[in-house]
Symmetry: D2
Subunit: 275 residues, 4 copies
């Protein structure tokens, strides 16, 4: 099990989300409250965008709580859109290439959950990945296979549909191999312009996922919090678990839904696997 965070909004130092909150992602690496495991110490990764650039990624196999470079970078780097992830391995090796977020071109992808009985279905899933994409696979996780399947199914052109097809395919192959509940996931995907956040599981009981309240509403709710002034009205954070307990600040993504954070109005829509 893992924890993740996606940020969209006014450019901020990464440390504002990763280090400085009461329940920052670094804190969650040692003391997750809502996860299947309390310790997420099997590596850390962050991917961030700057204007007009492909995203940069820093990944480490050390626990986030004791990685000094992470604190340095989080203090030194500002970005208007970044994804960060702390890992608790479900069995695959602890190595940078198994650490989220994964990158392809302008896209980043990260995942909390698992493909059940992955070793049994891996071969068939991997075979469905497009020829031209295949050589880009660097690690051995189910999460990266999901990413390349989504790319194969059109992630770059139609993100929601592609992820729906990926999930449908994983469920089909899993069931063919006798796996009753093939997939459990919260996923964030981004092209640097929008963020798509998915919450879904075959059993209809997915890992937790929250999005922050619209910043203008939150400012109206808490006029006393002057520090909120630093965030633009479009700022939005999506997280595995809330970064604090400010009343009205956090909203659960409903089961089997996808949230789209984008310039202009954000969206929240039902999500259903497709075949």
């Amino acid at each position: 099990m893992c924890r993740w965070l996606a940020y969209f909004g006014s450019p901020i130092r990464l440390e504002e989300m990763l280090v400085k909150r009461d329940r920052s992602l670094i804190d969650q690496s040692l003391h997750a409250r809502q996860g299947a495991t309390t310790t997420n110490g099997d590596g850390f990764g962050v991917g961030w965008y700057e204007e007009g650039e492909i995203p940069r990624v820093y990944r480490s196999t050390h626990p986030a709580w004791n990685d000094r470079n992470l604190r340095e970078l989080a203090a030194g780097i500002s970005s208007p859109l970044f994804l960060a992830h702390i890992r608790a391995s479900t069995g695959t090796a602890i190595q940078e290439t198994n650490t989220h977020p994964f990158r392809f071109g302008r896209w980043l992808w990260m995942h909390n959950g698992l493909i059940r009985d992955f070793q049994r279905v891996k071969r068939e899933l991997v075979l469905a990945i497009d020829d031209s994409l295949f050589p880009n696979i660097e690690g051995t996780t189910d999460s990266e296979v999901m990413f390349y399947l989504a790319l194969t199914f059109g992630l770059e052109d139609e993100p929601v549909g592609a992820v729906e097809r990926m999930v449908g395919f994983v469920e089909e192959i899993g069931r063919k191999h006798g796996v009753e509940l093939p997939i459990q996931m919260t996923v964030a995907a981004t092209d640097g312009g929008s963020i798509w956040s998915f919450r879904y599981s075959s059993e209809g009981d997915s890992r937790s996922l929250y999005f922050s309240t619209r910043m203008d509403d939150l400012k109206a709710l808490h006029p006393e919090l002057v520090e909120l002034g630093a965030f633009s009205d479009e700022t939005r954070v999506i997280v595995s678990e809330p970064l604090g307990d400010l009343p009205g600040a956090w909203n659960e993504v409903p089961e089997a839904h996808v949230g789209i954070v984008q310039p202009g109005e954000d969206e929240l829509r039902p999500f259903a696997p497709r075949r």
Copy 2:
């Protein structure tokens, strides 16, 4: 806070104590039950003896639970006497040279606890280390400074007295700098022939420490446990917390005591700092 284990007895694969028990040291790295912290993920070390050799040490900065090399070595190495330690840093850097056990000649040393306000008293403590020993210091922990102070005060000749003088000195220097409760410790020291295990703290409320029951008594108590036959009557294990809940198997080291595991009769004696 940390957890540690010292083994003395019939030669066994390290994995018997580090991996295979219900509450093995690796399990404790993720789920300590009695410690100040539940996660001990800031590194791992093991030192082991073979006949007539100086001890060998394997140390890693990765969490014990996800270190593959540790599992390989624990399966491949047998020893009649070994010390193992999982670390939860109290602030000093995560690096192999800060990972226990520390070695000097034939001696190994490991520690759970801390010297309070170490940064304030460090210089004065370090200055008291013998000139000839000084260049051997490789890391930056309070634990290593305690080891070299104990060596300075005669650890090799009179182990209990030397540790009593070391603790007395640390308390004196601490109090001189206004630190009310200067030291908290459980320590294991060994020369490959005997193991000295110390439990002491300035506040009289030391970290937990247990020793296993004499193996012949334990066999008499549990004749149904045929696997105990593999252990010689002299086998003894000292641990920060019990490796299981077998009734009658584990005994607390009393506050301010030192236990000596050695060929022949073992000993348990009061321990008092000296000046």
Copy 3:
């Protein structure tokens, strides 16, 4: 490019071959003389056997020359049969799962060389790996794919034939994709009883490979070297480059040959890819 060493004979401390020779494997990590690169600093691995056990493997992503744990283990572990490898990556990630030797059951495998244009042919090669073996692949190197192809083609039953079929297959697929000279290799494979050492390349100009002279002949040649008495007559070492310059001690494996070191008479035979 990489360097490797395989040892068969009287049980010795690993350090005798890895550390203590003038041109030990650790020395070669910094100063290879005959390789395509002088520095082999992209990781290190050693696999060793003890009686009746599956082999144990220690792998590190640090350069061999500065890995302290390696020196400790090499001093602490004795074995009658071991493989050791220092890596210079030809492009794939620096991670333990890409570090040789690779293990499957009782088998170990290590490789110096490359499959040319590996990214172009990888998919087709991977697809040929047996279903039941597929989930065991942990890394992303050409060397590991070669191992699992050899296992698919019967390595455990008929080692030479299986490697000949593996090479034939790699050449066929490579040429189908327009790669003129698909493979370059020296390989060591062992089941803990014998060691098979292959030297082959599509261009007929393979990386260097040497085997040591029969120990009884070498003792006769150098009666003044009393230290040779420590080695049984059956002792044999196979290396990418000689560990020293003792006259008469080292013999080149001929181009396109396989050497078999085994109890009883050793063998040296021509090697030819098969389809």
Copy 4:
């Protein structure tokens, strides 16, 4: 032996100096031309400034040539002033706290060379470090001790004088212990506003050090090189060895001199140890 680079000028991506040149610092980690060792694979560090901030530092124990995070950061981070260092250990442990540059407040420090017989003189040197600075020492290198001695002797107020006193003191203590040629160094120190670069050794035969030609002169010399237009006239690079072989671009720092790169006119002055 090590190699280092200091950059002062128009803000640029770190990769321009660390990755993209023919003889970039990463290239030098594998193939140094002028150093005492050709391989500088014992770690890497870079410290960089942004406006009004304390410097940030990224340090790794992996060889620079195979560190992926380094390439990501070098591509993602821009700075008008940065120091970068590749390490070849002269004996002390490979750990992040022994990796340059070292930081204290707004200051960074890096070093190529050594204090001879450091273990013999270490205690006496360390004792001379100011009480208030002592707890900041994190590693075990001679280079860090030189930094804290220089700080003790007034680096923040009078940089050249402080380094002259530090060197004088190291030479005095060394000679007292019978070390004929106590110090060999090229050092860069910066407060984020200016860079001081020192070249000195007791034997009068110091490690190589170069500074780039004034950018306006270089542009006049090579009007055909349009890419030079990207650099302000004040841009200056100081390096252990030239990043290329552009005629007129690189000038050796004379033996026993200090160069000061600063806003306005730069300076080059004789350097002499003081007592």
